[in-house]
Amino acid sequence: MILVGDDMLRRVLFIDLSKEESWVEERDRLFETWLGGTGVATQLLLEECPSGADPLSPQAPIVLAIGPLNSLFPAITKTVAQFKSPLTGELGESYAGGRLAMAMRFAGHEAIVIKGRAQRPCYISIADESVRIRDASSIWGISAVRAGVILRDVEAGVGRRSIIRIGPAGERQVRYASVTVDTYRHFGRLGLGAVFGSKNLKALVVSGTEDVVLPEPRRYREVYNRLYRQVVRTDAMEKYHDIGTPININVLNQQQALPTRNFQSTTFDQADSISGETLADHYLFRRVSCAHCPIGCIHIAMLKTAFTPHHEFEVQKVGYDFELIYSLGTNLGISTPEGLLQLIETCERLGLDAISAGVALAWATEAQEKGLISEKDTLGIALRWDDVPGYVKALENLAATASDFYADLARGVEHAQGRYGGADFAMALGKNEVAGYHTGPASILGQTVGVRHSHLDNAGYSIDQKAAKKRMDPADMVAQIIREDDSRGVYNSLVGCLFARGVYSDSNIIDALAAVGISKTSEELASLGRSIFQEKYRFKVREGFDLSGVRFPARFFETVTPLGKLDRSALEEMLAIYRKARGWS
């Protein structure tokens, strides 16, 4: 039985794969100071990761953490993973939904730290207090999808467990390999899959049977009812139910903000054929939900392919979202839903981060057009926009690091442009492949300064979209980026789904925390958000990140945005404002 409130146990489970040992530490102070989630994970990473460690060495830890509201309130469904990113060489951070947060809560571990390297392929099975490191030789080499099917059969805890695993790309340590969480959800960005691979760790299964006793059940129910009502009722959530995030395809296309063919254009003439509306009308067959979230935003399409002329079909169930349609769709000039879904399914099977993989292929396509790489490099594949079979083969070669070129591409576009040229159109910021918004300067600046160089660090694209409606000066934009940077540090410590962020206002967060016996003021939360940001930068700088060394690819200034063509010097000026506002100049 887990108590919350004064008697809350704040347990961190440590697993050392080299020593085949595990132990639990009670870290009350850590959680009291840093709340949970990303706040706590950052501290554990700072503690556990030796300065300058190779991200793929046994010394580099994996940290998973949940927060005080996970599994207790609707839509607080995420788990944060922190690690040293093999892609950027500094802070690696990624969030996933599914059932992992719930499974960790009921297993009684608010954080899990995995260190070392197993002698041979293994997986970890955590059931309440039991931790077993089991042989995974027989499932090494198989797809992320299939690995889940097999582990479901051999492990206990049906209906309340979480199974997270890597595919061949993670095993080969592709530096943007993902970890699949319970099918359809992922720790996608920054290469956690490669870190799993480097530890000979194929999968992690978590389940638990504990329950949580609330200090004041009546108060808890009151706050819960209010939040539940807001989550299911607010219009703010509507877009996530219906068409889902892919509604942005048509929206961004109309705004001239939809990256197309490696950002050569911001409108795509075939956008409607792979839009959220088209997919919802003709391919969507089910929406599912993360554990304890009534929204059901996970959109699953049915891809039905005839394999003989006699009505015999292969059926694949493919999860899709906006970012995937951008990276594996518009950005590769894909004109058919079937082609798009096939590419998504390929990344799912191989265990590749869809954004990075798509951006890498887009760069490679253009690099080949321009003669920077040959067909010999690509093992005979002529990469061409909209050529689905070619891209599927290239993804397989990438996951297998099948040639020197693919091995270079598997280190990210920043690395690849260093080897082959093409820096101007290698679309990475802070070495991380960019998300699908060419909305204006705040999107670019936001991903540059963001703690994990993700569009979700501070949602710069959303600030640009506001600026398109009502003029905003650069200082305002910077102030908003900073506000988001900091406040998201708090929300990500809970660890909530960003889709429900509008519901979890400061006052709602304070009430929800109070209902589980944690007292915080608005000022304390604001201060915590700033501190978490600074601590993440402490890790980044310690590992060599230097904001003054960032590279803005020229392509950003060549292709029109809803705010017109951008000017490099204006962006550099905004960066200077940002640095000054942070007190870094």
Binding site: M1, S71, L72, P74, G98, R99, M102, F106, G148, V149, R152, V158, G159, R160, I163, D182, T183, Y184, T209, E210, D211, V212, V213, L214, P217, Y220, R221, Y224, N225, Y228, R229, V232, R233, H241, R287, V288, S289, C290, A291, H292, C293, P294, I295, G296, I298, K317
Partner: protein, 176 residues
Amino acid sequence: MSVAGQNRANGSDVLVDEPVKESARSPIEPSGSTLCRRRRLKVAHPERCIGCLSCMFACSRINTGHASLERSAIKIRTQGGIEGDPYVVVCHDCQDPSCVRACPAGALCRRPEGGVEFKRDLCTGCGECTKACLVGAISLDCEGKAVKCRHCGACVAFCPHAVLRLEDVPASPGPR
């Protein structure tokens, strides 16, 4: 959509049964004390379940004050992970309940007006009821006591897709 009102998925034509007032059904009060008629839980639209587990958390939260899956009397099972179809397991409110016949401790007994009453303090945790119920609607919680649905409707109010419904039980016994 309201919490216990209209169903978002099918517009205005389907209404969930009237909301269950939490205070009226609080476990603090004796079960059934505020009821003037008997109702039972029905899985009206199983195919609409999105697997969010809100019902399970509602059941444990409202009936036990815990956040727990193990203490929930309604169960959302998966078959083949979330790639497969979730399915909803609820007590069928049998006319001749096998759980009652299986219980050697008298913890499960029939009410004169129909339905099954569970006396938790008499439960020895032998698990015979869980074996007797082929549906799988009874389980043991982490304290080893049976978890038995009392058809209170707490889960109904928190299903976002109107999968669940409380229905009136006819006065005269009839086939389900």
